[in-house]
């Protein structure tokens, strides 16, 4: 299997604050990688480094054998839902079409092909019926699906998802992962989340990130790695209270 993303000794600093420290990571074609870690652990930064939105202070990033900027158009990005202005004046279809912007050229307009692809993507995430709905009227889970559709219309080889299960209820969560599983047949998926309860049952490989990347391999919860990431005892996780892990971690600071 070929390597699609490679990070070598990547450091990111904001001023004096080290956000990512000496990250080494290889991701292979059709991987389904889950990266877990506490809030503020650098998960979003890592995705943005892979997208070329943030330049590493040190180290080398290779995506599909090229620089992140060059490979951007093969990478689909699903940012965190919570970042959006819910009053924003755009419909579901408007938002999904944004995924086609890079293709139409700056002065061009959307064509029939763009619409067709957008409809197909909305169909695949079961949101076609709501295509004329204003995005602000959607639930968190629905907006998540719309953002996923927007990433899919770019026809990506790699899909990056940031906290896709935040603000989503349990049944929707399961649906979302089933959908990702299907997409994974053709697309490499990297997903970051602090919610490892769900992550572990669907992803094939798991890594832990808290400034440093601790572990990378199959998802049998490797106690020591998780412990080091969250800096708290493993039994909390084994008992199935992933959120308590976070609370514990904050208190210990």
């Amino acid at each position: 299997m070929s390597e699609v993303i490679r990070l070598e000794n990547v450091w990111v600093k904001y001023g004096d604050i080290v956000v990512l420290e000496d990250i080494n990571l290889s991701i292979y074609e059709y991987d389904f990688l889950g990266i877990i870690g506490p809030n503020g652990g650098g998960k979003t930064t890592l995705l943005k480094v892979i997208l070329g939105l943030i330049k590493p202070t040190r180290g080398k990033v290779t995506v599909l054998g090229d620089t992140p900027e060059e490979s951007r158009r093969y990478v689909g990005y699903v940012p965190q839902v919570t970042l959006f202005d819910r009053e924003f004046p755009a419909t579901v279809l408007d938002v999904v079409l944004m995924g086609r912007l890079g293709r139409k050229g700056i002065l061009g307009r959307y064509g029939k092909e763009d619409l067709k692809v957008a409809y197909e993507a909305l169909e695949s995430v079961e949101m076609l019926e709501l295509k004329d709905r204003r995005v602000g009227e959607l639930s968190g889970g629905q907006l998540q699906r719309v953002l996923l559709a927007r990433a899919l219309v770019t026809d990506p080889k790699i899909l990056l998802l940031d906290e896709p299960t935040a603000s989503v209820d349990e049944p929707t969560k399961t649906n979302l992962y089933e959908l990702l599983k299907k997409i994974n047949n053709k697309v490499t998926i990297v997903l970051v989340s602090h919610d490892m309860g769900v992550i572990s049952s669907y992803v094939e490989k798991i890594a832990c990130l808290n400034r440093r990347l601790f572990y990378h391999g199959s998802p049998e919860m490797e106690g020591r790695a998780v412990e080091e990431t969250y800096q708290c005892p493993i039994y909390l996780i084994a008992h199935g209270f992933p959120h308590r892990v976070l609370k514990k971690h904050k208190r210990s600071k």
């Binding site: 940012p79 970042l83 202005d85 938002v95 912007l101 700056i106």
Partner: protein, 268 residues
Amino acid sequence: MILWEALQYEFMRNALLAGILASIACGIVGALVVVRKMSMISGGISHAAFGGIGLGYLLGFDPLYGALAFTTASAVIMGFIRERMGISEDSAIGIIWVTGMSLGVILIGLSPGYAPDLFSYLFGSILAVPSSDLIVMAVLDAVILVVVYFLYEEFLAVSFDEDFAKASGVPTERVYLILLSLVALTVVILIRVVGVILVIAMLTVPAVTAWQFSRRLNEIMLLSSILSIIFTVEGLWLSYIFNIPSGATIVLVSVVTFLLASALKKIF
């Protein structure tokens, strides 16, 4: 009735035409400004215009051209500060805002004689718009319409999610710079109507009012242009009847309508 009577005068017809031309610009660009949350940047750019007005006085050319040069320059500087320098956008706005105003005051002070229509640049004088200015306004309107026609999708995407737009290959820095330049043009158009100090009102109030009743960006653009025409005519009419300053009246009419609309929206 009184309005028709008033329209027999050329200055009234010019005022109405100026109001309509300004409304087209401030409806379209105002929609982009509020959706992108850049009303303070617009405030900075509009106050910077005063420096150019002062330069016009000093060197004896139409102050409106000076304003155009200064707003465009400050738009470009603002864009670069955001992308390249370590200063926060907020501070940059403050600095550009006061630099433009102070330069204006000094340049006017250096100009020989008394500056007769200075007040009209500060607070607008829609009743004294010469026909030559109407042509400038119409040309700027046309530029704005063409640019927004071609870049509508980019503006929408960049306002909604800049990271994603960048990641999917939109030259976001250039798009932002163009957007700032549109604000610069609109400010020049609006100076005649409400003046440097109140420009920010016309860029925000009609658009925010329209936003409450729109689902899409293009609906906000259309509705806020229409609202802005109504506000201008209404303000003009009231100022004519009561013999009060027109620019400030137009702004207050807009604000009152906005408050009423918000209250209605809450109730229903």
